[in-house]
Subunit: 424 residues, 2 copies
């Protein structure tokens, strides 16, 4: 048989305390990342691509004003780079790039162009801090897209890189569909561009099929071949965009591409918010000191309104229920110590937690916390009776907070009446 | 300067072909998983927990009818187990469990209970095929939740396991918050219950803080300690629930817990659909032959309606734009060969792809495919002019498909009139 507090073990009702998970020394935390000498987990950088990859999201149409607002918010958030759509995509793309370069932001402005002299020249004309060159290196893209051999790609890449550098502009060279490229071709190409003095090489899981272990393997191998920075770009088709990003940093990557809410081609890429959730756990001190985390929700809401989507209910951090605790056993422990069922303190993002008691799976400790919030003085035994009443109603229909509050209120009135009757 | 086809390299306009990525021998695919002797990627099993973990989602209230419908759909989909809420949570939870056990489904029915004799007895009374025992083993949960030592946990666990087995019922023993538990305590406990004949041990990332490499490390270590099956459960607070699941299977785990759309406490766990996206790439033959993939969308839509959420725009596979291609360079290649920018054939899930041409970042090959769909015979040079017109309008405002169709139609009328005038 099961007792009243069927989702909890018995014991003292808990009281609120602070959130010690966030106060841990990161190296002594049981969740601290593995310490590898090649790891860049504690010094990663963000290349924010909402205004490039994000513009490839089916629903995206950013006006000039939208772009300026997004760039300013991301700058204030503290991202290291903002990447813009190819200046050759349309006349307005070129004009918008010039405008954003002229805003005087602290963050560096990049544009993502094909690996050709024409595109690179136009990018420099727009006034960017850096040019992101890209070309497909997989057999699929060599055959069905541009039809160029690795030798041709290497030759063109070096010419363009040398030109961009001669203009005093930062330059990245990225392969596209890197994980379906021939490994030896890829390493040969990256070694050649590294020797030519490229600032970063880019690895892209363009079709979103890589696993975290494949990523670690490729990046740590590449780390031993090139001396320059390594940028990584992960699509989320198979749900691994965040797992792949942390594995890349562990393997020696220096930069991660993100977009707000992950918007991009198909179902998108590593989202800025999800990466922050990951990194505030993996590299708490660095992440908290470098990025303006309390701005996240506002930025996500602005971009969501621009591209007319809802924030996914299951979004890390800002999803509607990301800090809601429901099962009795969870609620009891979180009331005693939030770290029991929270790895992230919602306050870091300017958010707060919520203990739900409006269901049949609630428990008496959670109900007690609500009783105290409401200012009633009711004994634990009576609270257990109230909990049974809530569970009874929760078996019949969905409950709202005013349903459970009514049950508590009615029971409290009944208790007072009984006490008054006894006193007479 | 940039030419008209600014998002594409020049060359022949492509034609549609089949989807060779799905025809590859999985072992020769460049994306095939690493071949480890401990890997269970090609023989994984699913424990579907929408009716347990999913009931802990803030918005969830499942009626008996909802539960029956969800169980029947999951059975038809082919999941190996369905896990139900603790039969001790409420009287109706017990009744519903009895009803679902009586449906005669092929999939095995489990209930998830605290590691106590009372709960186990009630579970068996309900008629389940298996009992999932759980207890918190982290220092946080030992201190703030149940207050039991590892010795007490072990003693109770063995008693309960032996009892359940004596009743001819399958039994799993899981720790909770495994990744913040003391490793030696954990291995000692698992070794003891394995020796006691438990069918599965469970590892749970209850607070969602593990990384894929931590998971691989813990699971592969555990694999060397116990002989029984290993079940894994990943929360998604830091966006790694899918990356962690594939890493667990690579490390020797046998079972993954899922819920439809990932619903569960806070922002939930590994979603069934995202896991299918991952596994149809990592283990295509096994996944396609075992699970009824074309049912996924219907199941997700039913559960979404039960818990009153929208399918996230960025959901793998069923997100609104998961198979939409927009940038000109992507569209051109996907028209020549879908595998260039798709790792998953949408047809496997009964879905289809869409090539968007309604933006400034489109390209002439994508526009040509639409011209052909509309039945017009227009030369490539003229299509490039049409593309420039679309980009011009796409610079000014968001475009709908009838906007671009109107541009194509008007241009075609103009061409015919010119041809007629010349013929006169």
């Amino acid at each position: 048989m099961c007792g009243t507090d069927s989702n909890e073990t018995s014991g003292q009702a808990p009281t609120n305390t602070s959130h010690p998970a966030q106060n841990h020394n990161p190296t002594s935390s049981p969740y601290a990342q593995m310490q590898d000498y090649i790891s860049n987990v504690n010094r990663y950088k963000i290349i924010e691509s909402t205004l490039r990859e994000g513009e490839q999201f089916a629903n995206a149409f950013f006006t000039t004003e939208n772009k300026i607002q997004i760039a300013k918010m991301l700058d204030k958030f503290g991202v290291d780079y903002i990447e813009l759509t190819n200046v050759c995509s349309s006349p307005q793309s070129f004009e918008d790039c010039k405008i954003i370069c002229g805003l005087g932001l602290k963050t560096k402005i990049l544009t993502h162009v094909r690996c050709s002299m024409d595109d690179a020249k136009k990018a420099i004309e727009a006034g960017v801090d850096g040019v992101d060159l890209v070309i497909g290196t997989s057999s699929y893209l060599q055959q069905y897209s541009h039809g160029k051999s690795i030798e041709m790609i290497t030759k063109t890449a070096i010419e363009v890189i040398e030109y961009v550098k001669s203009q005093g502009v930062e330059v990245r060279f990225s392969s596209e569909d890197s994980f379906r490229s021939d490994l030896v071709d890829l390493l040969t190409l990256y070694k050649a561009v590294d020797k030519a003095g490229v600032h970063r090489v880019g690895v892209a899981d363009t079709v979103g099929g890589a696993t975290p272990r494949m990523v670690y393997q490729l990046i740590s191998t590449l780390r031993s071949v090139v001396g320059c920075d390594i940028e990584t770009h992960f699509h989320d088709d198979t749900g691994c965009a965040v797992g792949n990003a942390i594995s890349a940093l562990e393997g020696g990557a220096t930069h991660v591409d993100t977009s707000v809410l992950g918007i991009g081609e198909r179902n998108g890429i590593t989202s800025l918010g999800a990466l922050m959730a990951r990194m505030v756990v993996s590299a708490p001190e660095y992440t908290k000191s470098k990025y303006n985390l309390t701005m996240l929700k506002e930025i996500e809401e602005y971009v969501a309104s621009c591209v007319q989507v809802n924030i996914p209910f299951n979004n890390p951090i800002t999803g509607a229920t990301a800090f809601t605790h429901k099962a009795g056993i969870h609620a009891k422990a979180i009331l005693a110590n939030p770290s029991t069922y929270e790895i992230i303190d919602p306050a870091l993002f300017g958010l707060s937690r919520y203990i739900s008691i409006t269901s049949r799976i609630t428990g008496w400790n959670a109900v007690k916390s609500r009783v105290i919030q409401l200012g009633y003085d009711i004994s634990d035994d009576h609270i257990k009776t109230i909990t049974a009443k809530i569970k009874q109603m929760g078996d019949i229909r969905p409950l709202a907070i005013d349903d459970t509050d009514s049950i508590i209120h009615a029971y409290n009135v009944q208790l007072r009446e009984q006490a008054a009757a006894q006193a007479e």
